[in-house]
Amino acid sequence: MNEQQAIVEVKNLSVSFGGSKVVKDVSFTVRAGECLALVGESGSGKSVTARSLLGLAGPGSTVTAETLTVAGQDGRSLSQRSWRTLRGKEVGFILQDALTSLDPLRTVGKEIDDSLRLHTRASGATRATRVMELLEAVGLDDPERRAGQRSGELSGGMRQRALIAAAIALDPQLIIADEPTTALDATIAASIMDLLGTLRQAGSGVLLISHDLAAVAKVADTIAVMQAGHIVERGTRDQIFHDPQHPYTRALLAAVPAGKPRFVKLSPTEEASSQVHTRDSEQKVTAAEDAGGEAGAVVRPVLSARKLSKSFAKGKHATFMAIKDVSFELLPGRTLGVVGESGSGKTTTARIVLGLLAPDAGAVELFDEPWSSAREVDRRSRRSQLGAIYQDPLSSFDPRLSVGSLLADAVSFGATRNPRSHAARITELLQMVGLDAEMSGRNPATLSGGQRQRLAIARALAPQPRVLICDEPVSALDVSVQAQVLDLLDELQQRLGLSYVFISHDLSVVRHMSDDVLVMRAGQVVESGATERIFTSPRHDYTRALLAASPLVGTQESGGGL
């Protein structure tokens, strides 16, 4: 195959829904054996662009282009019928929503077989053999059994692989992969990226879409940065990473926490964006004193967990150890990062610490007093010392309450939900997290993701806690929004002397945020220690594997100089 052959050629593609134009004069080319990455924040038009290449921009869309050639066909004048022969056969499409892109009522085998059935005349038996091959090719164990299962019985990574198998069934010239690794563990994500790399090497063109610049760094040859429907910058990987031209590209790169030391601002502000704040020693002392020790004396932990274990019933008889012998200490004014793959017990630990779940064994102490063993009635008065922030803030808000009411409730310890009674304090809180006081009357559902997380933080701060448990507080956010929230947490910690337990599966985020790190696997702590030590000289194999899988975490070279 000719290296230079263009599989996709797009010139001035515009897509609009109703009156609003969401893709504006986009042009790009994908050649055989080449990987083009389309990056940009949420809503910038990446998915719509990709869907337009298959004539699936969506109901109510208007697509115009000077050139729209896909696998040698002019997409501007294709009949539905011809589109259908193109889809699946010449172009394989891996949709953004991996978890819901397989029909939950059909077996995986059937779904993969679809492309074969639709585009070839092969017999059932031949197709069945091919399905097995494909499942094996994408690295699924026990293909016979997998083919007979339905998506509900598969984990997220398996589903993603099955989708890829369906997309590559007929060796398409072009593979479009829309966010193929969101919501996947670092280790699994890495193997999926590897798989795409293999396919590219086999001669397919790949259009890779992501909102995370860092994530595409390994595979992409060329990167196009999209913002608000436009491609604002395009270049080779090296050009983009080392010599970004457009301010938006720079902001995007700055927002990547990977390799940035603690307290470095990730989001652009008026103050020098790359200024390094060293720890304010005065404040540290204050925090330590608050915790009850004199300066220089032994600093007592604000929170300590000793040998926590918890198991859940699994079926009628079996039980399942979610966590086992988890111990840690959280010192005043410091952040303890918790990392580990999905299901490793991070949330379970957090819930025990929050007193939402009683441990089977072990105990939690808060400010040197028994916490997990205390009765809820006695705990209630002490709960203001401990706050929490979750991955999905919206679902933790009462949907009937406005922003102001939510805060009023928190400020008044549940006595009232009338925002006027604590107007001053509410305004103060909103300002503290960088929200406009005007927002008091809005419903949280109308806020953006970043704003919601700020509101969640404001609410957690309302009772003036000393410790915050943050369970994946930024996982659902865009890199740039994530950067703002992380900056906010940093700033609050310095101003208020808070202590954080910070849970995330994203190693670069944890590294950026934490003083100490706890690495968990299958319910157990495999390694713990000071952040730098863990990341520079990991002792446990699992930690090493985790680090290797994470893009840009171990490699200082790409981001450090920015």
């Binding site: 869907r51 298959l54 699936l56 259908r84 022969t85 193109l86 889809r87 699946g88 056969k89 172009v91 499409f93 949709l95 953004q96 929503d97 819901t100 892109s101 397989l102 029909d103 939950p104 009522l105 059909r106 779904e111 679809d114 492309s115 639709l118 585009h119 164990d141 299962q149 339905r150 509900g152 019985e153 984990s155 989708l163 369906a166 997309a167 079926g315 009628k316 079996a318 299901g343 299958a522």
Partner: protein, 325 residues
């Protein structure tokens, strides 16, 4: 990965689980039957009216005191309530439903005669309702906004039509005016058309609303888009994906539908003069025929339990998302 270690020998435990699940259902079913029997026993006895009188030919019978006493003794109605209750439970446990006061024949026999016609009526109605609902759902998903609005309007209106009104209108139009269909024939297929449609139409409207929503949702879903991206045609998506999804809520509603069919059968069987459970339920309550009321209630409760279990099983088979709980 950790999943492989979690793999235990599957087959036996799965089988064990299913058996346990079925056993649980069975116990639950028995409990429901017991409770229904108890509720009916005490409920009916609270209604004014002497059961002995019902035995002696119904209200207004000028039965003599001796005759009434004889009847009471014969049916054990002279004993304390709790004794009667105990005896009834014992009889029921042995499968003896007693003898109908008004029909003077064993309830089991009466039910044996009445079940088939009602079963035929109800199952045909359910079938027709399903077909109409699916047809309407398919039609409206395939043919644009206007058609969808028309279909939705049709569904909502049919779900809002009282059975007896519909029956009357159908009889007037198709029997009296057009003369196409007989209003009361019990033995011919033609005679089933009107009663079945009377029962099916409101149900179809109801099912249609639910099914169409699910179907529309499936059409818009990521997996449908994914299938389109594989080159699947719209018809293929409908047949291979959306229809299955639309069927699910229908299955889970079938227990409810059964209840509504039995209540509807009271009206339909009365109007179309069909023999059946619904009509006899009505006359049994009016006649204070306690054994027959109990029989019908137990039967329909049992049917409800069975249908719910079956629809549960079907749902589990069709939809792996439902985990055993």
């Amino acid at each position: 990965m950790s999943t492989s270690t979690a793999l235990t020998p599957r087959a036996p435990s799965l089988l064990g689980a299913s058996v346990r699940w079925l056993l649980g259902k069975l116990m639950g079913g028995i409990f429901v039957l017991w409770a229904v029997a108890t509720a009916i026993f005490f409920g009916i006895r609270m209604i004014p009216g002497d059961p002995a009188e019902a035995i002696m030919g119904g209200p207004g019978s000028q039965a003599s005191a001796e005759a009434l006493a004889a009847a009471r003794a014969h049916y054990g109605l002279d004993q304390p309530l709790i004794v009667q209750y105990g005896r009834q439970l014992k009889q029921l446990a042995l499968g003896d439903l007693g003898t109908s006061y008004s029909l003077k024949s064993p309830v089991v026999e009466v039910l044996g005669e009445l079940v088939p016609p009602t079963l035929i009526l109800a199952s045909l109605a359910l079938l027709v309702a399903w077909m109409m609902a699916l047809a309407l759902a398919v039609f409206s998903t395939r043919s644009g906004v206007l058609a969808s609005a028309v279909a939705s309007g049709l569904e909502i209106v049919s779900a809002a039509v009282p059975h007896f009104w519909l029956a009357s209108v159908l009889i007037m139009v198709f029997s009296s005016m057009l003369g196409w269909l007989p209003p009361v024939s019990t033995n011919t297929a033609a005679g089933l058309v009107l009663p079945v449609f009377t029962l099916a139409l409101p149900l179809a409207g109801f099912l249609g609303q639910v099914m169409r929503d699910t179907m529309m949702e499936a059409q818009r879903s990521a997996f449908a888009l994914s299938a389109r991206a594989r080159g699947e045609s719209e018809t293929g998506i409908l047949l291979r994906h959306s229809l299955r999804h639309a069927a699910l809520p229908g299955i889970s509603l079938s227990g409810w539908a059964l209840g509504s069919l039995l209540s509807g059968a009271v009206v339909v069987e009365s109007i179309f003069a069909r023999p059946g459970l619904g009509r006899s339920l009505l006359s049994a309550v009016t006649a204070r025929d306690i054994p027959l009321v109990t029989g019908v209630a137990l039967l329909s409760a049992a049917a409800y339990v069975v249908i719910m279990t079956v629809s549960d099983i079907v749902e589990r088979l069709a939809d792996p998302r439902i985990k055993q709980s």
